[in-house]
């Protein structure tokens, strides 16, 4: 059982790295307009597929965690999600009065902020439960 837990958690980390390894080159390729539209669409889909597999593996890893760690993850996700929604609301409201900075708060950056907020949530939650 312990070995199964470790394997499941390792798999989620491996797929996170695979996702990163497909996402960053995809961003670079699409940004520099190296390929035509049909190929660009395929390049766009590849990191989405690796992300979907990563999420599937992550949920599987959550399910084999003990209840304290599951609570920690749940609270981290709730905090991360709430902070992301707050940021999006702020950006939307500011965009209504033409105050926005796409250089720092574009869609691509929101993904980074989302992960940042998840790790903030994880830090808070770990502190709370002493894990």
């Amino acid at each position: 059982m312990e070995q199964f837990k470790k394997t499941t958690q390792r798999n989620s980390i491996i797929f996170a790295l695979i996702h990163g390894a497909t996402y960053l080159p995809a961003v670079w390729l699409l940004k520099h307009h190296i390929f035509g539209q049909p190929v660009s669409i395929i390049i766009t889909i590849v990191p989405i597929i690796t992300f979907a597999i990563f999420i599937f593996k992550l949920i599987k890893a959550f399910s084999v965690m003990d209840e304290v760690k599951q609570r920690v993850q749940l609270e981290a996700v709730v905090i991360g999600f709430s902070l992301t929604v707050m940021l999006m609301m702020i950006l939307f409201l500011l965009s209504l009065c033409d105050i926005s900075n796409p250089g720092w708060f574009g869609y691509g950056y929101l993904v980074c902020y989302c992960w940042l907020f998840y790790f903030v949530g994880l830090f808070i939650s770990k502190k709370k439960y002493g894990v």
């Binding site: 059982m1 003990d66 209840e67 304290v68 760690k69 609570r71 709370k128 439960y129 002493g130 894990v131």
Partner: protein
């Protein structure tokens, strides 16, 4: 809710790691429960009671504010 996990462990001369292995959770999780930061589920409380050979009520007690 207060608990007597530390006392029960001392009686058996078990470390947190030992207890964690017996009930299938991590050492950090045992520490979190022992220090009262996390209230375990009924299943986990029953597992603890079983390995200690004691009743759940003797390990976990309600406090006035509960």
């Amino acid at each position: 809710m207060k608990n007597t996990i530390k006392v029960e462990r001392a009686k058996k001369n078990w470390t947190q790691e030992d207890l964690a292995g017996k009930i299938g959770i991590s050492r950090q999780s045992v520490n979190s429960i022992e220090t009262g930061k996390f209230i375990p589920s009924t299943v986990l409380a029953l597992k603890m009671a079983k390995v200690f050979g004691a009743s759940v009520e003797s390990i976990f007690q309600l406090e006035k504010q509960d």
